[in-house]
Symmetry: C2
Subunit: 390 residues, 2 copies
């Protein structure tokens, strides 16, 4: 199978490339390295050092994993993307090339515009490039469980049958996202659903939970590390908590900490994406996978991090609640379904409690690197501010 | 009340300006005249001649309606829009400044991108300009009944309470739009709903049905005419049918003709918008109005046009079904609610059957003008084509 990975230099893109190479698939990729640039812009860096992409390609060869055909460019440029699709003729395109930070999208109008515009256009360009050049190609698109928000009813996988005023229909589940980033993913989902209907494209839209971890079975050496962001803009809550524990700062949940989300390990996320690639949808099928294993509240994440840090490093960790810079329900019902991947043979292989020790151990070797950027861990980006001009 | 009308040169914008002036409100407006340009680009023109905007301002003075403070510019330019908002300090902004043609959005990738991007950015810019400069200002935004698509259940006004797996919640009604244009309006609705939540902005999101007519009570002279588009890209089905009858061409419904939509007259549309302006939402309220009076199938529109033309002009009209260039259900359930405007005192004043005679009469004075553009009435833009490059 020929797989084109858009955003191959990213947190998910890189380990997915390693997995697909290890499986003997032909891997090509695109990236414009904008995440590297934007992380620098907020004064941060990946807590784990990562090589340049040129070196990544060399290491992959050194480790006997094979070759990556790389194209540097921006997916929001339609001609660039079309030319790559024509050259690579992929069987599947994994679209990970979007701005992926909720806080970034809430910094101000410029960031909101860029997120909404560039995420939407990259997906639209992909739709047109695929339909016209490789109409049987499978588009595997990363969305987020955050598209659903936190409704007071169960969350199905994309669609649900409802009865209303005595009549029935199967409809897309209503989305209630909580940032411009999350809304950009909702808009993409809607656009993909429509594209599949009009042009019979095969699409898997992955509502992915929060991914944690530094390792997959292919990441056997620091040379193969994927990026690991820890700042308020680019790092997840769990990444920040692990980082805070590592350098002796208090672990800081936002608000009451009852905010509950779905989670899965990096290893399992890559396995899920690989399963989706191995089981493409039918012609014209638009399918939605809810991709996560378990849900945790922010308080549970903080407590688990504290517990595992204290166990693994025999030092104390402290938890300190700070005001929530986001606008979100801090106590709510949360019950999303996640069956479709299991029905295709997915089994969970990692558990958060154990994986925390692996993350904390990897971070423990980079304390001085982390200490350089410790001032960007605490929240500055406030949802209710988001000014017109910065 | 100070009302800023974005898209004041358009089909709805112009008669709304006349109405607000007639009511003694202070009216300002913006426009970039892009609809005039894009209509020329497809080789068409308004069937009724309309003056330049400069002349429109003069005529308004001549007819004793007062003054319009006009700003030429593009709402997708954030600084332009903010400067106008700061200068005008409006109590309400009516946002009509979006690309409003479904076929235009389906011509090809460029038009799809422009529609999705510019519609979204104009609304986003407005949100930020309002929240920062006139936080109590009422945003009255034009969406479309087409956002809902044609579900097999009743369509409420924006939100509905549902029971699912034994639990209840009030959720946004799931949208299933049928073109990039319609999706751009869905994306706007989602963005507005979120903005209202985060920044407590007052928003009315109007799901407007198809508007018909050439007149309002203020349009007493051809000098005050609003535009009336008749080509396959910019004209509605009813406008095309009236035009075809007027110049002796067959009336051409697309497909089986069972496609059913909500309709209201231009006079009543302006009345609805004015009622919404006079009854603004509360702080932080995002409300949705379904704005239409009656629903008709395409076949009913064709039959009514034929009947009224034959009655009014004592000549025969012919109906000829042509292949449907769109992707849409041609036979379906359709039952949208429309109560909120009635609860605010709205009463219908016009009826399609009578109004058809007014339209046909206005068109009858411009046959030679219409004959010049008769080649752009029949559909060329096909939903399933929409190429990457034209």
């Amino acid at each position: 199978m020929k797989v084109l990975i858009m955003g191959i230099d990213g947190y998910i893109g890189w380990p997915l490339a390693l997995r697909e190479l290890a499986k003997g698939n032909k891997v090509s990729g695109i990236d414009n390295f904008i995440t590297r640039k934007r992380v620098r812009e907020v004064g941060s860096q990946s807590a784990l050092p990562i090589p340049t992409f040129k070196k990544r390609i060399d290491y992959v060869k050194d480790f006997g994993l094979g070759e990556i055909n790389f194209h540097r460019g921006d997916a929001s440029d339609p001609d660039f993307l079309r030319d790559v699709i024509i050259e690579e003729k992929p069987d599947a395109v994994v679209h990970l090339a979007e701005q992926r930070s909720a806080p970034y999208s809430m910094i101000g109008l410029k960031q909101a515009s860029d997120t909404l515009k560039q995420n939407m256009l990259s997906t639209l360009n992909l739709i047109y490039a695929v339909k016209e050049n490789v109409p049987k190609c499978h588009i595997l698109k990363l969305g987020t469980m955050g598209e659903y928000g936190t409704p007071n009813i169960d969350i199905p996988e994309g669609f649900f049958e409802i009865e209303y005023n005595g009549r029935k229909d199967t409809l897309p589940f209503p989305k209630q996202a909580g940032s411009w980033y999350h809304w950009s993913k909702v808009h993409d989902s809607n656009n993909l659903m429509f594209a599949s209907k009009v042009w019979k494209i095969r699409i898997t839209d992955v509502m992915q939970g929060v991914v944690y971890g530094t390792r997959t079975k292919e990441i056997t050496s620091p040379h193969l590390f994927t990026r690991f962001d820890i700042d308020e803009v680019w790092g997840t809550a769990l990444n920040r908590f692990c980082t805070q524990a590592t350098i002796g700062l208090p672990i800081t949940p936002y608000g009451k900490g009852g905010q509950t989300r779905g989670f899965l390990s990096l290893e399992d996320s890559i396995t899920c994406l690989d399963i989706a690639l191995s089981h493409p949808p039918n012609d014209g099928e638009y399918r939605v996978f809810n991709q996560f294993d378990e849900h945790y509240s922010v308080n549970e994440l903080a407590a688990l991090t504290k517990e595992q840090y204290e166990k693994g490093f025999s030092k104390k960790a402290e938890i300190l609640h700070v005001p929530n810079p986001r606008l979100e329900a801090e106590e709510h019902y949360y019950n999303p379904v996640h069956e479709k991947l299991k029905n295709l043979g997915y089994h969970r292989s990692k558990e958060l409690r154990e994986e925390l020790l692996v993350i904390l151990n990897d971070l423990s070797h980079h304390k001085s690197r982390i200490n350089k950027v410790k001032d960007v861990i605490m929240p500055k980006t406030k949802w209710t501010e988001s000014p017109f001009n910065l």
